[in-house]
Structure formats: C-alpha cells, structure tokens
Symmetry: C2
Subunit: 315 residues, 2 copies
C-alpha cells in the first residue's frame, strides 16, 4: 500500500516532511504514480482531472486546502472519504490575516501609505474598534477563529451563515432572508465562505451596495471588503466598480476569479486595495504532513477522520 502526493505546488516539500515523520512509508509523487493499484491514499492540491479515478485501490483523499470546490468539480472524483485540511496552523494563519486586514482598514493604513509616498505628515482621525462593525460571512471553523481573534479588540461582531450558528460575542444572521439585515449593519465585511453553487458570485455589486446602509461607523470613510475565502465568491469587476463609485472604501483580496490575478486587472494598482497571492492561510508543509499522516493512521486503524467533506453540501 502506498500514499500518492498529487499537488501542483510544494509536492517535494510535502514529501520531505512526510518522509521525516514516517520514513518507512511507500510514497509516490505524481506524475511518478508507479503501480496504480498499490495506492490507497492521496494527498492532493489541484490534481490532474481524472487522475484519482484511475487508482482502483484508492480509499482516502486528503485535500491540502480547506476549500474543495475544485476537487468536487471533477465528476470522476472517486466516492471515497474526502478530508479537507483544517488544523490550528491553518486557522491561526487565517485569523492573523483577517485581524491584520481589519486593523489595516480600521486604522486607515491605505491612506497613510498614500500620504507616506507623498512625504505628507497628516493626521487622520480613526474610529475606535468599538465603533466598527465587522461582519463575518461564514461561521465555520475559520469564521469562528476569526471571531475569537477579533473579539478582544472590542469590534462589534456580526456573522452570517447558511444555517443558524451560535458564536460567543457574535450577533448572528442566517440564510438568504438574513443577508440584508447583516449587510446593512456591516462596516468591514470578511468573507470566509466555502464556494458552492449557492455562494458563487455572491460578492457582487448588489451585495456591496447594501453594506452599512443603516449608518456608517463614524470616521471610517466607507465600507471595506476582505475576501480570504475563494475567488469564485466574488465578481472582480464589481469590486472595481464599487471602489470607483465610493460604495466601497477599501479592500483586501487574497483570492480572485482568475489566479494568478492577471496583470491587466485594475485591482493591482488601486491605492486602497491590498492584493496578496492566495496565501492568507498557506500552511506550513510540516503541518500538512502531520495532518495527512494522522488521517492515514486513523483510516488504517478504523478511527474517525477529521473534517470529512459532505458532498451534497459542498464543504
């Protein structure tokens, strides 16, 4: 029995970490699949479509990412347990990213950056955290980690999710019927939703125009958007239009409809947009290796797997 690593990036790093933890393991790295029948488990990130279907002995798939929309888009994906990567390294990095970007916009850092490039020393009043309403779209393990990180600063936290969720210190809204009220009371929107048929393109002009309609946080020039979920959740050109119209004050985007973000995108050089290369929660190879081996051992011993994807739900 063997473990296949089929990852479009960092495959050798994952292999080195797995070998360090379990030297005796029969490890294959795509495209060197070897005897396909031997392979019982696969650690994957953007594997070639159809590849996994050609492994007759496959019993377990572990996704390097927390988002599995890409894998589920392959109709040939074998119907074996699909586990997505969620561990403290991932949730910690995501909580850092969301906190960093919320603080960045609350503290008007885009404007201070602009002033700095012009060598201008100018005071700008900044809202207190207690006057800023942060809306978390998605209250799964990542959304809850973000709430836990933001809570001590005193932000007024709101959350929106598909089904009702109870999170300490978060005023929660749910379903399509709760979306309008959620958006109307959100100054900084942080998107951590899974990409599903229901959420694709959700962050569009219409949604952005509904942000903080019930009055803005004093001193904040307008609503801000953070997307560290999936690029397919947003409509890039609608974000550009909302920034141009002033409906949106600023944005921090880690994901895009097309990745890498095309050089022609106006998002690259907008003065109040922070672009990062889908690394909000790029976990350490060692953490991914540990997690994959834990799943493999759980599978072999009949123990419970972590974070098995519900395919009808899509995450």
């Amino acid at each position: 029995m063997a473990l296949l690593i089929a990852c479009s990036s960092r495959a050798e790093q994952f292999a080195a970490e797995i070998r360090a933890l379990e030297p005796g393991l029969n490890l294959r790295i795509e495209p060197n699949v070897g005897q396909a029948a031997d392979i019982e488990a696969a650690l994957v990130w953007q594997p070639p479509p159809g590849l996994l279907a050609r492994l007759p002995g496959l019993r377990l798939i572990v996704s390097v990412g927390a988002g599995v929309d890409g894998l589920l888009a392959d109709p040939t994906l074998p119907k074996v347990p699909l586990v997505r990567f969620v561990d403290p390294d991932l949730t910690g990095r995501m909580a850092e990213y969301i906190t960093l970007q919320v603080l960045y916009h609350q503290r008007r850092m885009s404007e201070f950056r602009d002033l700095q490039t012009q060598r201008v020393w100018r005071y700008l009043p900044e809202p207190a955290a207690s006057d800023v309403r942060v809306g978390l779209m998605g209250l799964g393990v990542l959304g809850r980690a973000a709430a836990d990180a933001l809570r001590p600063f005193g932000y007024r936290l709101r959350g929106w999710s598909r089904t009702p969720k109870t999170v300490e210190g978060v005023v929660s809204f749910c379903g399509p019927e709760g979306l309008d009220a959620f958006l109307a009371e959100t100054d900084i929107l942080a998107v951590l939703l899974p990409l599903t048929q229901e959420t694709r393109g959700l962050v569009n002009r219409g949604l952005l125009g509904r942000l903080s309609r019930h009055g803005r946080s004093p001193l904040l020039p307008g609503p801000a958007l953070i997307n560290a979920g999936r690029g397919g959740l947003q409509v890039d050109r609608d974000i550009v239009a909302a920034l141009q119209s002033g409906e949106l004050y600023a944005a921090s985007l880690d994901v895009f409809e097309t990745e890498p973000l095309p050089a022609a995108s106006p998002l690259w050089q907008h003065p109040r947009v922070v672009v990062t290369p889908h690394n909000a929660a790029e976990s350490a190879p060692a953490a991914i290796a540990r997690y994959a081996l834990r799943q493999w051992r759980a599978y072999n011993s009949g123990a419970a797997l972590d974070h098995v994807v519900d395919r009808t739900r899509g995450y």
Copy 2:
C-alpha cells in the same frame, strides 16, 4: 475657579466634549486665558513654555498624552500634581497599533506591497507566529496591553523594563544588564518606553545590531523595529543605516527625532518602512474630556488621582 485648555491641537474639540459633559464649567481656551488667578486646573498638550508658571492658582495639570517628557523639560513647570492620560481608549489603540505592525512584518506585507506595485503574483513563505519572538521594550500599562493583545496569536513574548516586572506569558529581562540577552532573542522589537535621561537615543545602531543574534526566526528575512513610544528614544539616521546594511529588515515608526518628519528624511520612501504621523494612540477627544473631568472631580473631592507622574523617575 476655571479649567484652562492649553493644547497645540484639537483644543476646540476637547472644549466641546468637556462642555457637553459639564455645561456649567468655567472653561478657558489658551491664548484666551482671562483672569489667570481663577484657573485651578489645566488640560495641556505642548503648552507655551512658562505659561503654567504664570497661573498662581493652578493646582492640577492633566497631560493629553501619556508621555510627559516635553512638559518636564520646562524648568518653570509648577510643582502641582501632573496626571498623564492613560485610559482604555489609549491602551486599546496602542495595542491595536502594535498588533497591526507585528502582524504586518510577520506576514511580510512590505514585500507583498512591493510585489503588488509591480503586478507580480509571488508566494513568499511566512513564519508561524509561534516561531516569531516579539520583544516589548517597556512593560508599563501600554507594554502590558500590547502583550495581552499579542498573546492569543501565539507569539513568543519577551519584555524588557527598567525594574523587574512580571507579565503573564512574557519572559522578562530588566536593567542594563538584561538588555543584551533580551535583544539577542528578539525578532520584532516594539518600543513603548517613556523618554527619560536613561532612554534617550537608546534605539541606536549598536542596539539594532544586537537584535536576534542568537538565530533568527525561520522565514523572517531579519529583525524588525516598531517605535510607538517617543521619537527621542531613537536615532533616525541609525535606523536608516541599519536598514541599508541589512541588520534591520523592516520598521514601523510612529515617532521621530523631529516631528513632523522632515520631507528630506529617507525614511519616507524606504520600501520596508511604515511611517505614521504620531497617531498610534491618538485618543478620541471624548475619552480625553471624560478623563480630564474625572481628575478634576477627584481633585475637588479629595479622591485619588490616576497616573500621577513621578518627576524624579520622569514618567
């Protein structure tokens, strides 16, 4: 009896907030001092030197800032209780600023900004918070607030102070004899010291060269400096030199030897320096008004004042 507001900026804002809270108060705004003998208390920020000495009835001075080095530099400062402003609004804003800048450098945001301006999508590995040692210089009320804000992210916290301090989760060093060991194990140095004869110019080339000598955090390109204390603590040209030599990877500076920072300073346009205009903890006028009135009432009722400055110590 009257309260004088002698502030080089925001005087009218403070007055409006104080009037809203206590409409009957006899309030004067410098330079309209009126009958000097009436004035029993003064709320000050950079008052004209000698002004306070000309108020024979003065019994209480409240400083708008937490740092009082400027006031103490006036040899004519009356020997009445001098209270510095320290409240949850101030400590919260300072904790936000330190957390924002620590996250910014841990997550290599200066480099991502550079890549963004070049429209380059490139992954840079980032250290986990648990692999980054943050050293807090100053463990007073601001240093402890910063420690409280940073702790949940998992940073390895060190602290240095004049006298021994015990802060939860912080490995503490103290005095000149503890400085070397503190610096040798610090990746990101955050300076929150008061400015005194002992601390003036402390953040110089020699000190910066001693940072993280006992091995660096993996993935962090080098040590980073954050100064949100006082400009007089640092030697601006030494920071520039340390950045040029590579001893320093990056810096976030809210304070400078000369403020406003002169247009000719190379700090303005260094790609890995964040310049902010001494607003790390620019408190809301309402919070300052509330605090000043609380001190005034405490004085009048004989109750204890908050944060009275020890003039021999200098803070």
